[in-house]
Subunit: 302 residues, 2 copies
């Protein structure tokens, strides 16, 4: 039942966020057309939009108004999209396909892809500082959102995780153990998903203790999500994934299955899911869709 | 007299901002060491720090406290530094030297250079949203600064200008005329320098009309600065410049001298300087160092 409801809500939120992103990515006449085209290509590419859903649902779960959270949902998707564009570059992961289409640099060239990512990151912060206020969010809460997103996107989190991932691949990063792979996944995935939940909570006016619970949920959900991603790289169907499979192994990436084996990694994903569900308890019935998402994340096949 | 005073103030501010940047770039233990090293290399490279000076001096000129403006001065230098790291990449300008040293990607490789730039941009917004408040700036003013910097760093300004520059070079951007080169310089340089002056004014509590004057000053100063940069590429001493000279011509870049000749470009730089000085009039004596900087910018030989 809640699974069906989750799917309906994911779809409604996806449409709402894509409409907002589409509007925001095409409204500025002074953006060079080629850059604007690259930004739209990178962002409007049919992802599941789980991060925006988490912002909106966390806001709703604490009794906030989803319209107020919409700019934060869009901003986090811009950060996620920019990080994919840069990760796919030849100098980093060298990926040619993403979500079933050629990657940004394959279509627009490396220079535009680098600049497109840079512009998406800046636009995320412009949207937080401008649009949230326009939707009626207080200055205080808007600035709290800037702080959450900037920290999650920065050198201690998103970018730091990407660097650890690169070094792990080249075996220059020291130990190949569970702590090392967890540090990568925390940075690359869990920190931003945690920030989604906290931003939704902040905009919805959650008390600090509830915010901490939402943050913990996001952290464990993010970890479960990334471990499942590692598993799908090995067991998934490339056509469903829309990207090159078995790349992690080919690149000798540091992943949960590479350290713990398939069964060990599955166990860790389930443990993370359990921790995510525990963190939701204080929300009671309000957390039902967030809980359904945690289940969905470890059962997904794409 | 004011020239001597300007040089003393530039040097004092340079030291203060570099101390702040040094502290901010080394305080986080959870940044991967290689990333931290690359960020410090990119930022602590002995530039003139004109942008931070403009933030601090604009704040002082409207009667604000410079300690409050220090985080904004650091943030704008992080944005400037990240943009240089990315512009120097092989896929963009392919520069091997910057400020007399090998560029970031020559030392750390392309992947780390891309990620280093990404991290510096995120850190700029983290500093605005965290450190300004810590220094006693109001939430309202801090959020205004986020908005100024995000807009100046985004697709309508800094990144847009870089894209136009790339397209101009490849002669894919349509017309090669003065309007086209001005659009490049507005985006690449003038927008960020304008934002410096406005952020300093915001933090210092300037009224909207004064803020507009400071913004105009910054715009024209930025334009003068970039035209002078075009000129120095042709007439400058490579050793003093610390970077490869005659590169614009070799790359067939769209510059003021390429459109108007050396004399025409010099005239435009002087006109821009005059407009900058005019914008300062409402500040009276308080604007003396900003005025001296405008003079300095068009007389500089490096």
């Amino acid at each position: 039942m809640s699974r069906h409801e989750l799917e309906r809500q994911l779809e409604r939120d996806r449409q709402r966020v894509e409409g907002y992103l589409q509007m925001r990515l095409s409204q500025e006449e002074s953006v060079p057309p080629l850059l604007s085209e690259a930004m739209q290509y990178a962002v409007l590419s049919g992802g599941k939009r789980i991060r925006p859903f988490l912002v909106l649902e966390s806001c709703r779960a604490v009794g906030g108004r989803e319209t107020e959270a919409l700019p934060a949902a869009a901003a986090v998707e811009l950060i996620h999209s920019y990080s994919l564009v840069h990760d796919d570059l030849p100098a980093i992961d060298n990926d040619e396909f993403r979500r079933g289409r050629p990657t940004c640099h394959k279509v627009f060239g490396e220079a535009i892809a680098i600049l497109c990512g840079d512009a998406l990151q800046a636009l995320a912060f412009e949207i937080l500082s401008t649009d949230l206020i326009r939707q009626g969010v207080s200055t205080e809460r808007a600035l709290d959102c800037v702080r959450e997103l900037a920290r999650a996107a920065g050198p201690t989190a998103l970018v730091g995780g990407q660097v650890l991932d690169l070094l792990g691949e080249k075996r220059e990063g020291g130990e190949r153990n569970e702590a090392a792979v967890r540090a990568i996944h925390e940075g690359k995935t869990a920190a931003l998903i945690r920030a989604c939940c906290r931003m939704g909570g902040i905009i919805g006016g959650a008390a600090p203790s509830l915010l901490a619970h939402l943050g913990n949920y996001g952290y464990w959900l993010g970890l479960a999500f990334q471990i499942q991603d590692d598993l799908l790289d090995i067991t998934g169907d490339p056509e469903k994934l829309g990207k090159t499979a078995r790349k992690d192994m080919a690149q000798k990436k540091l992943t949960y299955p590479s350290i713990l084996g398939l069964e060990g990694a599955r166990q860790r994903a389930e443990e993370a899911c359990t921790r995510a569900l525990e963190a939701l308890r204080p929300l009671g019935e309000k957390g039902v869709l967030l809980a359904a998402l945690a289940q969905f994340v470890i059962e997904r096949q794409q």
